[in-house]
Every structure is written in structure tokens, then in C-alpha cells.
């Protein structure tokens, strides 16, 4: 079965149509004789992709809104807040802004690379994975710095308390996302450093979001969890129960904060306006209010150099696939 590469869902009032685009890796095509059915499938796929591209182009011409993808890098499930933020950005850019939230980084990346999103707020690890295809728009400032930490958290009342990575043997560990720096990559490096591999854990699983990691640990589903320090601090600031029931066991080095990115060579002028609007938020009272709600202090100008440590970390665990 071919791996699912992308999906386009069309919602109406009664039905949901899903156009699934499959692709086959090039070696697979090269190593096997091309059959007529395969060719027809590829042809149909090509046709669909062309149709989708043309549809996207038509939308852009018609003052289409700027679509910004959100992931678990922020607590993005506050509809009222996102409406206020999109209204703010739309007013500053002169183009309407729409936020599109997805559970995983891969989903957002798929939407971005298939031109269904114009920009996305993703983690530093997927950025360095696809750095050649992405451009930085802005980097959030957490406590006035474009850096954050990864946390290892455990339950408060855990009798066999976890004090570090070496205590994870035969325990259940919750990751955030396979493309998360703090929620997976840092953990891989630290486990490797203490001589653990995934098989040494009783079980590990992805909770599909930093917030879910905290909830998994708080409920006892996992004894430990890898979480974005900024997200955990914000949850604690907002007095969320999951944060109150967990504690930070270990803090990582400082890594570049998840950036706002767009596809490289995308000539959409609204992207430049988006970067400027984000960087100018601290100068605006409404922008400051939104930043406060995000527990951020601002957005900095793009600087790819600060992502080098993540790139090095990925390389150290053999996870830099690009």
C-alpha cells in the first residue's frame, strides 16, 4: 500500500469528500517495471495535483486570506483568542488571516508543502529537517529571548519518583510528537546519553501535543513525559490542573524557540507583512495583550543561526534526514 502523502478534505453540510494523494518513493518506481495501471494512477495523481494547484492560485488572486497553521507549540485551542489574533493580524497586514490548527507537525507541514497553508508555526526540529524548503518569518521571544527549554516531567505524588533520564527504565514515557524538538528529539539524545533505548522503556507513546503530555503524566497514563518548557510554564501560569499535578524533573539546554515559517521562495507579499506585524506586536497595546495571553514578550527578526544546536542535536541521534 502506498503511504499517504497528503489529503484534501472538502466539507459540505452533509458529506465529507476526501481526496487522498498517494505517492510512491522513486526507488520503488525505478526498481519495478512500470505497469499500465501504475501509470494511470500517477497520471491521475498528477492531474489532481495540478487541479489543486490551480484552485489554490485562483483563491490567492481573489484576496484570499493568509492561512497560518498552528501546532502544539502553543495552547491553540482557545477559539476566542485565535479570533482576536487573526483580526489583529488581518488589520495590520491588510489581508484577512485565518488560523488552521492541526494535531501534529506532520499534518501542518503537509498542508504547508501542498500550498494549503501560507505560513505555519512549527517546532525547530521540523524546521531544521526542511530548512532548505522553508524561510523564517519571525521567532517568538519567551522572556525576551528567542529560546526555550525542554522539560522532563513526572507526577507530584509518584512514590517511585523519577529524578532523571536514567530512572526511565521499565517506565512509561509520553512523547509529544515525532517531529518535536522538546517532545521527542531532546529525549532521544538524553536517553542515548544515559544508555537507554526505546526498548528499555515499558512503553512509550505520542500524546499528540505538549498539553496532552502533561495530562498523560498527571493522570498516571505515563510516569514521565517530554514537554515544551514554554507550554508547561504557560499551563502552570494559567493554573491548569495537569501542570499543578506534575513537576519538572529535568531541564534541557536552551534551544531556538519554535519559529513562524513559510515556504521558501513563496512570493506572497502578505508573508512579509505577517513577519512585520508579528515583530511589531509589542508596540501595540492590543498586540501586547495578545502576547500576554500567549505568555510571550514579542517576535524577533529571523535568525537561522540560532537553530544550529537543534540541527546538531538531530544529527547526533541520526534524526537529521535531510
Amino acid at each position: 500500500m502506498l503511504p499517504k502523502r497528503n489529503a484534501l478534505r472538502v466539507f459540505t453540510k452533509r458529506k465529507c469528500y476526501e481526496i487522498v494523494i498517494y505517492y510512491a518513493p522513486i526507488p520503488l518506481i525505478e526498481n519495478k517495471p512500470m505497469q499500465r495501471r501504475k501509470l494511470l494512477e500517477l497520471g491521475a495523481t498528477w492531474g489532481l495535483m495540478q487541479a489543486a494547484t490551480q484552485a489554490q492560485a485562483l483563491k490567492k488572486d481573489d484576496t484570499a486570506p493568509l492561512r497560518i497553521g498552528l501546532t502544539a507549540v502553543i495552547l491553540a485551542d482557545q477559539a476566542a483568542f485565535l479570533t482576536r489574533w487573526s483580526d489583529f493580524l488581518g488589520a495590520r497586514m491588510g489581508v484577512p488571516a485565518v488560523f488552521v490548527a492541526r494535531e501534529s507537525y506532520q499534518n501542518i507541514l503537509d498542508l504547508l508543502f501542498s500550498d494549503q497553508l501560507d505560513a505555519a508555526w512549527i517546532c525547530g526540529y521540523p524546521y531544521v529537517l526542511h530548512q532548505s524548503k522553508l524561510q523564517l518569518l519571525a521567532t517568538p521571544l519567551f522572556n525576551d529571548k528567542p529560546f526555550y527549554q525542554a522539560y522532563l516531567i513526572g507526577r507530584h505524588d509518584n512514590r517511585a519518583a523519577i529524578k532523571g533520564w536514567s530512572d526511565l527504565k521499565n517506565r512509561v514515557l509520553a512523547y509529544s510528537d515525532p517531529l518535536s524538538n522538546s517532545g521527542w528529539l531532546v529525549a532521544q539524545a538524553q536517553m542515548r546519553a544515559v544508555g537507554l533505548v526505546d526498548q528499555d522503556l515499558r512503553r512509550s507513546f505520542f500524546a499528540h501535543g505538549h498539553r496532552n503530555v502533561a495530562e498523560a503524566v498527571a493522570s498516571g497514563l505515563a510516569q514521565a513525559g517530554c514537554i515544551d518548557g514554554y507550554v508547561w510554564d504557560t499551563m502552570q501560569l494559567q493554573k491548569m490542573a495537569a501542570a499543578a499535578q506534575t513537576q519538572v524533573v529535568w531541564r534541557s539546554d536552551w534551544y531556538a524557540f519554535p519559529p513562524m515559517v513559510a515556504k521558501r521562495f513563496d512570493g506572497n507579499p502578505a508573508l512579509l507583512a505577517l513577519g512585520e506585524a508579528l515583530q511589531n506586536m509589542p508596540a501595540d497595546p492590543q498586540g501586547m495583550s495578545l502576547l500576554k495571553a500567549l505568555n510571550l514578550t514579542g517576535f524577533a527578526a529571523p535568525d537561522a543561526a540560532i537553530f544550529e544546536p537543534i540541527k546538531a542535536l538531530a544529527a547526533s541521534v541520526g534524526a537529521l534526514r535531510v
Binding site: V172, R203, F205, H208, A216, S219, L221
Partner: protein, 489 residues
């Protein structure tokens, strides 16, 4: 206690009690039935949850997605009984029988072996033995259900595990009794005022009748009849009719009593008139005798003066008596003197002569006389005339007037039949207006009572021979109390 309360309270209380008892009885019966079927309902609910988890958990097991399995279980377990109290839980197990995720991760820890080991005190079947749905029941009534999840090609890819503690099957009497209590409360809220109104309406004619009965004897029966309610109820109508009859009879009795009272008043007036006539008549015989004596022997100055004095005192006595009958008149009277006894004897001699009765008298004066002359003369004359009549033909009468510091006594002896004190008292209380003698005795008694004296008949053994009757009248001699003050009525 209930029957002592008025209908206004009895009826609402009765209604509320009846409804409350009905609600409670129905609730108890319903609760019993519900308790019997509760276990089956719980088992059915758990089975439905398992069916849901089998369907929804299949892709999660295929993807080994612990987090989404957990969120599914967390949401679905809310359908299980008493999950919030920790009395039921569910989990998805992988093909080896290990927990993929549980609704209560602390009790159902992820990654730990479930099948083939003791879980919460229950030994679960091995994965190979759980290739069909299994229901395990513990001694205390708890239940564990295990159902395999199969792939499209009928391979077991995992299991659904559901566990319900015995406590979850226990009937929740508090919850079951709540509707009954609410129903009873509503019944009380609605029926108390309704019953009060109904009771008041029912009791109103009874209260009116009772009020009417209470006023009998104090209010006009004709007006009371108007207060009686006009009712359709046969029992109440019977009561009202009886009261109406009673009122009619009372009215008739009161009319009769009024008539009798008028007759009595007329009779009393007659008796008083007769008594006055009697008292006036008594001295008249003596006065007539005195005028005859004056006409025959009035030439002698002594005889003339003595007769004139006698006539004057006799007339003065009559005047005083008639004046005393006028309530507004202030009667001035003199103190009695020994001459008054002589006058009375003189006045009575004519009557005594008619009956050939011999009159003797004696005066035993050890102190001055301070008693009203008119009263005492009247008493002496009455008793003397009575004694003359009682002594009969050729009888003897003896009068004795004695005084001391404390009292003035007039004792009269006569022959004839004995007149006992009992008979005297009966005569005084009988108030027999038909007996002419009775007036004199009654007036003597009234004088004795009014002036603080006494009037008695002496017993036969204490009466000297030849007399048979002895009456004694006495008044206090006021000298002892106030010598300066003239006696006045």
C-alpha cells in the same frame, strides 16, 4: 390526637398523610423492582460500552495509539456505573493482554500484563483463553468482562476489559427515594392549602351550628335560628334541624317562664299588699276599742289622756309602717319604752276577750331599751295576736319582755298545740301567701334578719306548763354599741 384537631387541620393532614403514604409505598415497591432489575441494566450498559469500545478501539489498537485509546476510554468510561466513585473502569489490552490504556491509569497501568494475572484481586484468563467474550463474577457480586477485538481477517488484535465492583450494583436508595420525597413534598405543598380550604369549607356549617348552640340561653332564639346554616348534607341538615327544634322549644319555654314571672310578680305584689293590710289591721282593733273607751269614759281626764295617747301611738305605728314601704322615705323612729309593751297588751286585749284568752305579761328590764319602737311594737303585736289565736278558746298567753346590755328579747308563751322550731322554719321558707298567720311570722323573721336579731321557737321540753308553744324574738340592744345615737331605720 388527630380527631381532637379541627377539620381545617384534620383534612389537609389526612390528605397529606394519605398521599405521602401512597407515594412512599409506591416508591418502596418501585425501588424493590428497580433494585432487582438494576443489575441486569448495569450488565446491559457495560455490554453496550464494550461494544462501543470494540468498534472504536480497533483502529487505535492497530496504530498502537495509547493516547487516543486513553481519551476514548476516559470519555466512554463515563457511561459505566459509578465511575466517578471509582467503582467501575475499562481498558484496552493489546494482543498479548497488556494494558494499552485504561480509564483509570493508576489501577490499570499502561504496559502491565492484564490477562493471565491477578488484577484487583481477580485472576483473569490468559490471552489464549479469552478468545471469546468472558464474564467473570466474584463472590461479592463484582463483575469483569473481557471481549476480544478482531481484525478484518479474524485475528485477535486486542481486548476490551471492563470491571465493575460489587458496590456499583448496590441499590442507591438515596437516589431512588429522592423522587418519592420530592413527590411527597409537592403533595404537601399542594395539598396543605387545598385541604385547609376544603376543611374550612366543610367545617363552616358545623362551626356555625356550634356557635349557634353556644349562644343558646344568651341570645334571642329567633335570631339564633337565622344563624343556623342551610345545608344539603343529610347529617348536617339533621343536626341543624335538631338545633332549630331546640331553639323553638327554648323560645316557648322562655315565653312560659316570662308569663310565670309576671304571675309571680303579681302574686308577690298581692302578698305584700296583704301583709301591709295585715300590719295595719292589727292595731286597728285596739284603736277602735280605745275610741269606744274614750266615747264612754272620756269625761275623766286620766282616761281621756290615756286613750288619746294610745290612739296616737297606734296611729303613729301605722304611719311609720306605711312610710317604711316607701323606698325613698327616710323613716325616723323613737326608741322603745316599757309603755310600748303595755300599749301592745292593751291593743290585743280586745282580740283576747273575743277568744276568752287570758293575757299576762312581765317586764325584766336590766338595761335601757335601744331598739326601734315601731319594729318591736309590730313584732310584739303580731306575736301576741298570733298567740291569742293559737291558744284558742279559754287559752292562756304570757308575754315577757327582757332586756340586758346586749339584747332585747320578747318571749311569748301560749297554750294550745305545740309549734316546733322546724315547723316555724318551714313556715318561714314556704312563703305560703295563703296563710294569714304566716305574714306575721314572716315579717317578724324579716325584722330579725334585717336588724341582726333572731326569731326561734323553743323546743317542747323547755316550755313551762301549762304552755305548749314558746316563740322568742330578740334584737341587739344598741346601747352597748352607741349610746348617743338614736335608733333609726
Amino acid at each position: 390526637m388527630l380527631p381532637r384537631l379541627p377539620y381545617r387541620i384534620q383534612i389537609p393532614l389526612g390528605l397529606v398523610l394519605a398521599v405521602t403514604l401512597s407515594v412512599l409505598l409506591v416508591s418502596v415497591v418501585a425501588a424493590q423492582i428497580s433494585a432487582r432489575s438494576a443489575r441486569q441494566e448495569i450488565v446491559s450498559t457495560v455490554q453496550r460500552v464494550i461494544d462501543l469500545l470494540v468498534a472504536q478501539g480497533k483502529p487505535l489498537l492497530a496504530q498502537d495509539d495509547t493516547w487516543h485509546a486513553f481519551t476514548l476510554l476516559r470519555n466512554t468510561a463515563a457511561l459505566l456505573p459509578q465511575t466517578s466513585k471509582g467503582q467501575s473502569r475499562a481498558a484496552l489490552l493489546d494482543a498479548q493482554g497488556r494494558f494499552l490504556a485504561g480509564s483509570d491509569p493508576i489501577r490499570l497501568p499502561t504496559g502491565e500484563q492484564a490477562l493471565g494475572v491477578l488484577i484487583n484481586g481477580r485472576l483473569l484468563p490468559t490471552a489464549s483463553d479469552a478468545n471469546r467474550p468472558r464474564t467473570l463474577t466474584t463472590r461479592d457480586g463484582g463483575m469483569t468482562l473481557i471481549e476480544p477485538i478482531r481484525s478484518d481477517d479474524d485475528q485477535i488484535i486486542g481486548f476490551v476489559f471492563a470491571e465493575v465492583d460489587a458496590a456499583a450494583f448496590a441499590p442507591d436508595w438515596a437516589a431512588r427515594s429522592t423522587p418519592a420525597l420530592v413527590g411527597a413534598a409537592l403533595a404537601i405543598i399542594v395539598l396543605v392549602p387545598l385541604g385547609w380550604l376544603l376543611g374550612r369549607r366543610m367545617a363552616r356549617p358545623i362551626a356555625q351550628t356550634a356557635d349557634c348552640i353556644a349562644q343558646i340561653g344568651r341570645a334571642d332564639p329567633a335570631r339564633l335560628q337565622l344563624l343556623l346554616p342551610q345545608v344539603q348534607d343529610p347529617e348536617l341538615n339533621g343536626i341543624a334541624g335538631a338545633v332549630r327544634q331546640l331553639l323553638m322549644e327554648t323560645a316557648a319555654r322562655q315565653a312560659n317562664a316570662q308569663r310565670a314571672l309576671s304571675a309571680e310578680r303579681l302574686a308577690a305584689v298581692g302578698r305584700i299588699t296583704a301583709a301591709v293590710a295585715h300590719e295595719i289591721n292589727n292595731p286597728l282593733a285596739g284603736l277602735i276599742t280605745a275610741t269606744r273607751t274614750l266615747r264612754l269614759h272620756g269625761d275623766g281626764p286620766d282616761t281621756r289622756n290615756r286613750c288619746l295617747d294610745l290612739i296616737e301611738r297606734g296611729l303613729q305605728q301605722i304611719r311609720t309602717m306605711t312610710t317604711a314601704l316607701l323606698p325613698q322615705a327616710k323613716v325616723e323612729d323613737r326608741c322603745m319604752t316599757p309603755e310600748d309593751l303595755v300599749d301592745v297588751i292593751t291593743l290585743a286585749r280586745a282580740t283576747a276577750a273575743q277568744h276568752f284568752v287570758t293575757i299576762t305579761s312581765e317586764l325584766d328590764q336590766q338595761s335601757e331599751l335601744f331598739v326601734p319602737s315601731t319594729v318591736f311594737r309590730q313584732v310584739m303585736l303580731n306575736l301576741l295576736l298570733n298567740a291569742i289565736k293559737a291558744a284558742g278558746q279559754s287559752g292562756q298567753v304570757h308575754a315577757r319582755l327582757s332586756t340586758d346590755a346586749h339584747k332585747v328579747s320578747f318571749v311569748l308563751f301560749n297554750t294550745g298545740r305545740h309549734f316546733s322550731d322546724d315547723r316555724l322554719q318551714r313556715r318561714l321558707t314556704t312563703d305560703d301567701g295563703n296563710d294569714p298567720n304566716g305574714f306575721g311570722l314572716w315579717i317578724c323573721h324579716e325584722f330579725a334578719v334585717r336588724f341582726g336579731g333572731g326569731f326561734t321557737a323553743v323546743e317542747a321540753n323547755d316550755i313551762p306548763s301549762p304552755f305548749a308553744t314558746c316563740l322568742s324574738f330578740w334584737l341587739p340592744n344598741l346601747t352597748h354599741y352607741d349610746q348617743q345615737k338614736p335608733v333609726a331605720d
